[in-house]
């Protein structure tokens, strides 16, 4: 008997496939969330909390109609990170968020995937000109947001953590 497949859309880019999370992706996710690299995205977390976040990001699609994709290498389906739209309890509005697993850093993966997810959100999900919450100390994310054309809008807060709100260009503005 087959499982119960949610209609999470699949997006292909030149090097990547963005798809729904699978159990085989979990170890890579748990490793990120256990490490110091997760300090700007709610970590470090123990495994049960990481599992809740991992499976919760699937339920997010049902509760909100949009969510995060698992980004994989088109060549071998290796999990590279998660990118997409977050609007969990406590968020002001849908956020475009991203985090990569350690081995995937520094190859332009986040830029390629985020650009594709942002375009999909604007064209298909009614999410145009969204925000990203960024901790000013998170230089890598700040650099990516800037490269994506997002602009500082205001000081904000998410989950009790002060952070900066960046606004992405709309589809029309981005061209």
């Amino acid at each position: 008997m087959t499982g119960f497949t949610l209609p999470i859309p699949v997006i292909e880019t030149e090097r990547l496939v963005l798809r729904g999370p699978r159990e085989s992706d979990f170890e890579a996710h748990a490793e990120l969330m256990a490490s110091e690299r997760s300090k700007f995205i709610g970590g470090p977390q123990d495994k049960p909390i990481a599992w809740r976040g991992f499976t919760g990001s699937i339920g997010h699609w049902v509760l909100r109609g949009y969510g995060m994709w698992l980004v994989t290498d088109k060549a071998d389906d290796r999990p590279l990170g998660r990118i997409g739209f977050i609007n969990s309890y406590g968020w002001d509005e849908p956020e475009l968020g991203w985090h990569l697993y350690a081995a995937a850093e520094g190859k332009g993966v986040a830029y390629e995937a985020t650009l594709a997810a942002r375009r999909y959100g604007a064209e298909r999900l009614g999410l145009d000109g969204v925000i990203s919450y960024i901790d000013p100390a998170n230089a890598r994310s700040l650099a990516l947001a800037t490269r994506l054309g997002a602009r500082f809008e205001r000081e904000g807060e998410v989950m009790g953590h002060p952070c900066h709100v960046y606004r992405h260009p709309t589809l029309a503005e981005a061209g």
Binding site: T2, F4, T5, E23, G56, I58, G59
Partner: protein, 201 residues
């Protein structure tokens, strides 16, 4: 977007459906309350939301999960029951929760009996446990009414929970135990009905 592929289970009084967005307020009310003390709670509003989303995601990852228990007539929700296996769980468990103001009417028994039968017959489970806080006497009592017995040899989640082993499909099929469960559910469904052998005074 609905989770359209989760099967609907029907019992005498109940409909069991996949968790939906509109059912969330009832879930939140219980899981942010003292009622959730044996289930990792009380949770903050954020934790509660993430757990509910995780209950839905569990269906996608495992192919089974927790159903929302509805009244067949009024559609109001009474709690949840189903199969549950987060990472770190030694084996798959049958789990349940009833909203505090809906307890004592046999809904958990009726729903859990139905999901256990479904998991055994339709999903091929050959055994099942329930991980229960030793202080959660209502849940231990329900496990025992379902014929589960404490399994001292089975691994627990973290040493703070008792493992109750459910009767196997073979032990349950056509057994006196199964008839007894049906009879107890029948009693809840129609309080005038008294099972044979019960004291009438």
């Amino acid at each position: 977007m609905a989770h359209r592929d989760i099967p609907v289970l029907e019992t005498r009084r109940l409909l069991l459906r996949g968790p939906a967005a509109e059912d969330y307020p009832n879930f939140k009310a219980t899981f942010t309350s003292y009622r959730a003390r044996f289930m990792g709670g009380p949770l903050t509003p954020y934790e509660s939301w993430m757990l509910y989303a995780a209950e839905i995601g569990h269906w996608q990852i495992r192919g089974y999960g927790m159903w929302m228990i509805h009244d067949k007539q009024t559609d109001e929700t009474y709690g949840m029951a189903g199969g549950w296996k987060p990472a770190m769980w030694p084996e798959a468990e049958i789990a349940w929760v009833i909203w505090p103001d809906k307890a004592g009417k046999g809904y958990a028994l009726e729903a859990t009996h139905a999901v256990r039968r479904y998991l055994y017959r339709e999903r091929g489970w050959t055994t099942a446990v329930s991980y229960i806080d030793p202080k959660n006497l209502d849940s231990i009592r329900l496990a025992e009414r379902l014929g589960a017995v404490k399994d001292h040899d089975a691994a627990s989640i973290d040493g703070n929970d008792a493992v109750y082993r459910h009767p196997s499909p073979a032990q349950l099929d056509g057994s006196q135990l199964a008839h007894g469960i049906e009879m107890e559910i029948g009693h809840y469904t129609d309080p005038l009905f008294k099972p044979k052998g019960w004291a009438i005074d």
